[in-house]
Symmetry: D3
Subunit: 175 residues, 6 copies
């Protein structure tokens, strides 16, 4: 992993309009449709960072608090936060706008991970991420903790080994 | 929440064929497409349990280990595991079949939560879930723990109050 | 055709939600959209029975008596009824549910036939169907009659040779 | 049914290109997709004849002998053949062209019926059809026989009453 | 370019129904959706003329004066007007019908150009167009002028060389 | 038109991946699909400038020189250049990236115009555009010339009145 790239080099913006077929009975965007968009924009960001074919490795838990209405314009902004060998964590921020009403809300903040692969689907190393802004640095640092949580939840790491993770739970197990 | 319904009454099966537009460059199903299907089948299960309009409240983290190929038949089986006032947890199991090759694999086990709402989008109470089989009982019992994890991750519950959650992390903070 | 398979081994359930683009001016499901779904679910059932690529050979006549409304959940259940060398008849039952209104109706009973083919599109023999339940046995027996009707309608069999068919028309031409 | 209209006034031509998502594993058009197109073009022809909202009443049996390949141009030509109070029979002819290969084949001849309805979905009378060409006259005359077959198959007419139908089966039951 | 074909041999008719997902907030057809249809029908006409794979070379400017409403039937009629070596100009006329209201309007007249290519995407000569009707002759003659306008606008021809074009602007630069 | 807004306030970025159904026989993006995307991104930019419902008024001529391949990532960047009462001109720049090959090309520069309307579809005045960067100023100034060309081509302005337009053609008709 000798090569390095700035976080901003992977920045990807996707804009979608909520159409009738994307909505439920209450005329609000269906959650699954949004997850589809999240996956697409995040995959493109991971492609830009790695210049490779990428496959989705995981999606972190996501909650849907605010409904997004039919006709709203949804903007998804994705950026790679940190790389671990062949895998990359991508942060996506979602805003929804009711443009005629001049209302814009940040509705979601989500994390997906991707693995860069070669033509045969074999994992392949990617460049390191160099964060620059304060937000990028914070996301870079938090990536380790979120990764441990993913591994613990997937039962691929023992909780007591998840040193970074403890801060989430404010636990000091050593005491 | 006087009314009760059996878990099996919400059972919903969805079958999808992986078409060209659902796949990435390696001809495998895109993660976002699968998440879309998960949301739809789980929403229908939640509707069946509550006989109400439902909106997605959250999707738990999900990992994508096995690629699902173009032409595969994907079967998604969803069932409500437990209800909490107006919200329901739904468990979805995904299998992918390469039918000509006679190969069938369970590829995913996912959890989504939904809220039952009235015509104005206001939350409304749903029946309790009565689990019958061993798997349904296990899912019913685990629902409490998964709910605490969701609340902690969403920063709506303090980790030290998440009594049920501790078992996931094998932590005994009282010691 | 030495191999045999149970009818139930091909059982396939597909669940669809009626979305805006599936409906006509009266907000009811368009007939052509339903036929598309029938073909997909029946093709998967035929694939499961034969473990082969299958191509649609015919769709029997179908009538649309009850409108299925926007937002309804449509469940299509398909099962192979009988095999004839390389061809299979599939029976599909369709139910439509207005879940918030707690109304469920069986709206259609349809028959499609499929041919199993190899990679070059050449027909290839499939296992025999072993019916078990009363309904499966009835469908198995009726398959011969429906097959003759298809052949007569396609002008590939002379009506006087369609011995089984006569029962449909209550005709006793020998008298 | 005082008003009359010529058959040709309902003539509707639809052209579709076979795209990847319309095809099966052998890269041929899926039967269900074609049925969807048949329904749409026939519905428009029925609308043109009746100047009303129309709903699909039935699709006659259809067989799929020739595969239609990816990239082919499919032309569907529909025309109302005859009206019966509020219902109309529509004849659709399908041709498939591999244009670079300069090959054009008539692949299907299908019949659908539609009912004209008012805004509340109540059936409403439509104009009579006036056939002009030899083919239109033949289709007009055959419509009665096909209608009896539909009624017999739907068990809404006794076979012995289906006077016109007998000619299909070359049966002379009176003997 | 020894071979010749009549303009009418390329005539292609496409019929589309305006569905919910095709419309904007005012329930009118989105301009981009119509342009997509124009491209498809014109490409098929160019294919028919050349019996070749064709790629879109340009779309002339188009204005959208009349809204086309949800539920309208849109008919697009395309015909090759003239060929220039490997390129073809296609004229498309669009009518929109509100069938229940018995209103039909010609909404657009558009021009697209296509290039015929071989399997490697290399341009390849196409037959000359033989116009027959008065309209075809007029379109054939105007094609030269429109071609010069395209070249001038694309800065591939100097305005003073665009002899034919001058008539559009009623300019007599020689004076 | 008392209110003013900066050009950058309407900036909209849309990212699309070229999927199988978007491509022609040569596996390149179909022109009509791109025009559809252009219309959507430009409409959103016009909405952002006007905070109104907008309808497409016209699309300027566009040429397709470089093929965009299956799997490419297409980025469309739109910005309002200038407003004329209720109408707005939008400039869109399109880049296509083959990310694994690390190749990025600007493939198109297009202009669309939109009209802001109220709920009844009646045109309504929009804010003036304030250009800031050199490119924005150049686009602002060229807008007048392009507008005259549109009016002349639509035969709504006499060429001799199109003072600004003359510069395109390098014509000095006064001599």
């Amino acid at each position: 992993m000798s090569k390095k790239k700035f976080a901003r080099e992977s920045a990807t913006i996707m804009t979608e309009m909520v159409l009738p077929n994307d909505t439920n009975t209450l005329n609000n965007l269906m959650g699954g449709r949004l997850m589809h968009w999240l996956d697409v924009v995040a995959a493109i960001a991971a492609q830009k960072h790695s210049n490779r074919i990428v496959v989705t490795a995981s999606a972190d838990s996501i909650s849907f608090k605010q409904p997004i209405a039919l006709g709203n314009v949804v903007t998804l902004t994705a950026k790679v936060t940190r790389a671990f060998n062949s895998s990359m964590e991508v942060f996506i921020e979602v805003t929804a706008e009711d443009i005629p009403a001049n209302k814009k809300t940040t509705t979601h903040r989500a994390f997906f991970t991707f693995v860069a692969v070669d033509q045969n689907g074999k994992p392949i190393e990617v460049p390191e991420v160099v964060p620059e802004t304060e937000e990028e640095i914070e996301l870079f640092e938090g990536a380790l903790r979120r990764r441990q949580l993913r591994l613990v939840l997937a039962k691929r790491m023992k909780p007591e080994e998840a040193v970074e993770l403890k801060s989430i739970f404010n636990l000091d197990v050593d005491k």
